[in-house]
Amino acid sequence: MSTTEQKLSGFNSLALDWLRTPSFQLVEMQEEALERVLLWRNSPEIRLQMVDDQPISMASHLAWFEKQKRCDKQIHFVVKHQKAPVGISNLRCLGDGTLAEATELEVGLYYGDAKLRGSLLAFAPALMTINFCFKGLGAKRLFARVKASNLSALRFNKTLGYEIVKNGPLIQMDLTECRFDEASRPLCRLLKV
């Protein structure tokens, strides 16, 4: 088992159940995904929405991957739809402690697959990620950072129950489980998540 796989080994199977639906799976990022992820990450439409919008070299990408593999404060998932990789979801714990102990997490999500990005289905992995944080990890509060120009992501997050806590070029949003449960009810009904 690789170091990356070990990140989830401490969680019980009930927590991990949030990472799977019949159509979608969130699997820990492994080496074989790196080339595809770099292509997504360097595409103009993804870079445009990133805090660091400069192209990334494969060498930097590999170095980043090795570093994050050893870090117990974050995890990157490859989002798979019908077994095909379509995007990335990631969690980073804020404050002290490891991912497993975190009460506050920063959540990120992007789709390399343009068809999924604009689809209603785009909500499903977001629901899975957030449910994993609240119901699987026991997090109390989630955070997201979104560029003010990314109106689509801001609306997407608000639909999930996020609220803006700090305005600026980079908008900070937060989410509690109570707000998420309320906001996501119609989504869960439609998407059967």
């Binding site: 990005r117 689809s119 209603l120 909500f123 997407f156 639909t159 119609p186 439609l190 998407l191």
Partner: protein, 81 residues
């Protein structure tokens, strides 16, 4: 249940925030930045509420233009006058 296409287009206009004169049969999902995943979700919920129906997932995803939506709604017993 009989409805007018005008009613459907008004629903698209108000849900997507697109002026009604720009809502044509050809208006397509993702062709206008205002019709994104969130807007699509709101549109599906508005259609379900307005027409009193529950859409199947495949139909929700297939609702890729105004014309397609009108065609799909026929399957649910909506008659266009």
């Amino acid at each position: 249940m009989s409805h007018s296409k005008f009613e459907l287009k008004q629903l698209f206009s108000s849900t997507l925030g697109i002026p009604s004169e720009l809502v044509t049969d050809e208006l397509a999902y993702n062709a206008d930045p205002r019709w994104d995943s969130t807007a699509h979700l709101q549109l599906v919920m508005a259609i379900e509420n307005t027409f009193g129906i529950t859409l199947e997932m495949d139909d929700m995803l297939d609702m890729s233009s105004v014309a397609k939506a009108a065609e799909i709604l026929k399957k649910y017993g909506v008659v266009w006058n």
